[in-house]
């Protein structure tokens, strides 16, 4: 299984980017599965299932921090994608916490940022940007050439990663994103988180990087369960 974790602030264009990329990948015969993690509402799973006919599902984190939730359920989700005989699992995060970075070692971490956000945004984002492999800048159709250049310079100032500017709405310049996804290697077990989310209130926060609820304590959940307590 190859994992693509796509993070980025709400409405930055994560779905739009993944949708175009997924279509191109599907056209080349790649088998995909899609998972969206959100707090209390999202309908991307229906979109991916309807438009691309790929296995797609969602999980609501409810009272959990959505990025922590993703750490708990991702182990199950990778197994689910494998059962669906997918080669790639595309995960779209809720993107609510800029300090959390739900990227995993060996997977492709993609941050999606919109060019229309403030020029200083890249400086405000921590791990979600710095631990990513690739930054996709969307909505370049809405800004001037000069703004594009200044946004990129600020981004590169904050993180030394490749930047791809796109007009995701019209599917423009997504080919390089697709190439990066295709080049993602197979995951090596066990999957581990790249960084530690801040604020030590649970075993994930406290630095335990193992993927899968079986490795964590406190209030946890599985992909198909409600929240439950797992004590030591």
């Amino acid at each position: 299984m190859r994992a693509v974790i796509c993070a980025g602030p709400p409405t930055s264009g994560k779905t739009t980017v993944l949708r175009h990329a997924a279509r191109k990948l599907a056209e080349r015969g790649r088998r995909l599965a899609y998972l969206k993690i959100d707090v209390q509402y999202c309908d991307e799973d229906e979109l991916f299932a309807r438009e691309l006919g790929i296995p797609a599902r969602k999980v609501y984190s409810g009272d959990l921090c959505p990025d922590h939730c993703s750490v708990l359920v991702l182990g199950d989700a990778l197994a689910w994608a494998a059962r669906e005989s997918a080669e790639f699992l595309l995960v779209e995060t809720a993107g609510l916490c800029l300090r959390c970075a739900p990227y995993i070692e060996g997977g492709l971490g993609v941050i999606v940022l919109e060019a229309t956000s403030g020029m200083n945004l890249p400086r405000k984002i921590g791990a979600m940007l710095t631990l990513a492999d690739l930054a996709v800048v969307t909505k370049i159709d809405l800004v001037s050439q000069a703004e594009k250049e200044v946004f990129r310079a600020n981004l590169l100032d904050a993180a030394d990663i490749p930047v791809i500017e796109t007009d995701a709405l019209h599917g423009i310049n997504l080919e390089p994103v697709v190439r990066r996804i295709e080049a993602t290697p197979e995951l090596v077990e066990p999957s581990r988180l790249r960084g530690s989310p801040p604020m030590s209130v649970c075993t994930i926060c406290a630095g335990k990087k193992e993927i899968g609820w079986e490795h964590h304590y406190g209030v946890v959940r599985a992909l198909d369960s409600d929240l439950f307590y797992r004590g030591q």
Partner: protein, 273 residues
């Protein structure tokens, strides 16, 4: 890379047929107009150029630079892109103050003489606007006309882009003929999408679009310079009439006929100017 020529290899129109114009070559120094009715694909054509289309847009056109496929760096890093597209947007989204934004942009472009380049950009922009731009104000506070003026000035001076695409500059609230005059001082390829007949007549050639396809490339004939001159005189009358109406005056038919007769009587040489 020293750009001498950019070419557009014809693709397909909206109805799916091959474009009548198989190839459009634009050489350094050319001033080009893209003309055609609303919806005929003018914006699409300059977007194709701006994206270095490679048979991957709906028109399936391809762009060549100096006769060859463009280097990847043009698209990988916006500050290495030789093309500046001035779209119909009239707002900035950047909240930085004007001078600071220009300074950052000049630094990214590694412009020598950063400070003087910023001065030159502001001066250029102010020549196009009615009200001068206040350098301390945020980019977002500029008026529509000021925004377009600054975009044009930034692309020409700081960006120093050899190829400039302008979508309907006549609707920008800036003096279009003054803009054309200032722009022509720089040696670049200028491509105007325009409904304005004077911009069209001041161009070296015009590309005629219909149904999403390039129909013809029409070079400006020598005689059309004289036609343009006389239309300029007519334009002067219109401007004068507009000013008089704005000043609360009444118009007399006799005056208008007199002015029109002067346009007819003007010697060809004077009409050209």
């Amino acid at each position: 890379m020293d750009i001498r020529e950019i070419s557009l290899i014809g693709g397909f129109g909206k109805a799916g047929g091959r474009e009548p114009v198989a190839r459009l070559d634009m050489r350094m120094g050319d001033v080009v107009s893209i003309v055609g009715p609303t919806g005929s694909g003018k914006t699409m054509l300059i977007n194709d150029i701006a994206l270095f289309a490679d048979a991957n847009t709906p028109s399936r056109r391809r762009v060549l630079v100096n006769g060859a496929p463009p280097p990847a760096i043009f698209q990988e890093d916006p500050s290495h892109n030789p093309i500046a597209l001035i779209t119909q947007h009239t707002t900035f989204l950047s909240d930085l103050p004007v001078r600071e934004f220009l300074r950052i942009h000049a630094k990214i472009r590694r412009a020598a003489r950063q400070e003087s380049v910023v001065e030159e950009t502001l001066a250029f922009a102010n020549e196009l606007t009615g009200e001068p731009i206040i350098e301390r104000s945020a980019m977002t506070e500029l008026s529509g006309g000021q925004t377009r003026a600054l975009l044009v000035a930034d692309a020409v001076v700081i960006g120093n882009s050899p190829i400039i695409l302008l979508d309907e500059i006549e609707n920008a609230g800036i003096d279009r003929l003054r803009a054309l005059e200032l722009l022509k001082r720089y040696r670049k390829i200028f491509i105007f999408v325009t409904h304005d007949l004077r911009i069209t007549l001041l161009s070296d050639y015009r590309v005629v679009l219909l149904g999403g396809a390039m129909q013809a490339i029409v070079a400006r004939a020598e005689e059309e310079r004289r036609v343009a001159g006389r239309i300029g005189l007519l334009d002067g009358i219109m401007v004068d009439v507009r000013n008089r109406l704005r000043a609360g005056e009444r118009l007399a038919e006799r005056d208008l006929i007199g002015e029109l007769e002067q346009v007819l009587a003007a010697p060809s040489a004077e009409a050209v100017r």
